[in-house]
């Protein structure tokens, strides 16, 4: 571990950290690197209410709050919640979100930021929050600027972006990732079911979707 290393993860929804980066997060934690999750919303607009239904639109936020707390405990990371509303981030003022995020970055002084790749992250909240996160990092002085690893989700992203710069086999921390996903139990079964769109077996889905994490190194163009 390098001196003063600290990783900040910036995603909008409870469970983004679990599905997108938990294996990588767990690797940092095993090296003793502190990790802070800046979580944008409570996922209030999640659609998975269970079958039979165990949640309503009105009880889902409390359920997801508890799940997020559990997932962060399981990953042994700090949690900061920014209090936006699910599915509204793209309609907020990006400058204000960037300023909000910048306050945390100035305090935490991270060496690495993990966020979504704007324009390649499928959900409008992912794109908007990723863009604000990158803007926030960009506002830091060059000598204070952490690395940024951007998570792209869009199908065929390689056509535009090429292969991800950072590709991790997370078999070593797979159990930690699975535990984080299971902590988000209201959403996990629905989402894992949703991944099962073809004839692929569950083993294959787990292998493809969960045993591998990849990020693009963000490059800031200096003007």
């Amino acid at each position: 571990m390098k001196k003063d290393e600290h990783v900040v993860v910036i995603f909008p929804h409870p469970d983004d950290e679990a599905f997108g980066a938990a294996g990588t997060i767990a690797r940092f934690r095993k090296q003793g690197v502190p990790v802070t999750y800046l979580c944008g919303t409570l996922g209030e607009m999640g659609r998975n209410m269970g079958n039979p239904t165990f949640a309503t639109r009105e009880t889902l936020p409390e359920i997801r709050q508890q799940e997020l707390t559990n997932a962060c405990q399981s990953l042994d990371i700090n949690l900061e919640q920014l209090g936006y509303r699910d599915k509204t981030l793209e309609f907020e003022d990006q400058d204000r979100i960037a300023t909000h995020l910048l306050r945390y970055l100035e305090k935490i002084k991270p060496t690495l930021v993990i966020t979504h790749y704007p324009g390649y992250a499928v959900h409008p909240d992912h794109d908007a929050f990723g863009a604000a996160a990158i803007e926030a990092v960009n506002r830091l002085n060059l000598n204070q600027r952490p690395d940024v690893w951007a998570l792209a989700i869009k199908k065929d992203k390689e056509k535009d972006l090429g292969e991800p710069d950072l590709q991790f086999d997370i078999t070593d921390t797979f159990e930690d990732k699975l535990a984080a996903i299971v902590a988000h139990k209201s959403q996990a079964s629905g989402i894992l079911g949703g991944l099962n769109q073809g004839p692929a077996s569950l083993d294959q889905i787990v292998k493809d979707k969960l045993s591998h994490e990849a990020f693009y190194q963000w490059s800031f163009n200096e003007v």
Binding site: T56, V122, D125, K155
Partner: protein
């Protein structure tokens, strides 16, 4: 939630008539519809804490597809595809429709107090 009982819902709707009511109305096929199926595209609409007063409220349809319509001073509000309901501890009427995997498709909620944020 429980399966809608039309008589019970009608009685409950009547209690909101001619009073200022906060509504939450939403329909969605999810933020990943296109991602999972190129032929589909994302559709949704959402309004929360609109305050309305209606002079008439009616549930119609059957257990496969209940509809609720509210006749307001200057127009109408309705939701379709409602199958489940709950009257919660705040005496709010929550009506919703879900797909076969428990994912929300539509919801109409009525409350005398504003919903949180």
């Amino acid at each position: 939630m429980e399966k809608i009982k039309a008589r019970l819902i009608q009685d409950y709707l009547n209690q909101f008539v001619d009073r200022p009511v906060y509504i939450h109305l939403e329909t969605t096929n999810g933020a990943y519809a296109t991602h999972h199926n190129r032929e589909a595209y994302n559709v949704g609409a959402f309004i929360r804490n609109a305050q309305v007063t209606f002079s008439q409220a009616k549930i119609s349809g059957d257990e496969t597809n209940y509809r609720v319509g509210l006749k307001t001073e200057n127009g109408w509000i309705y939701a379709e595809g409602l199958r489940d309901y709950q009257i919660d501890q705040h005496k709010r009427l929550l009506l919703a429709g879900h797909d076969d995997q428990g994912r929300l498709l539509v919801t109409l909620e009525l409350s005398l107090q504003p919903f949180t944020n």
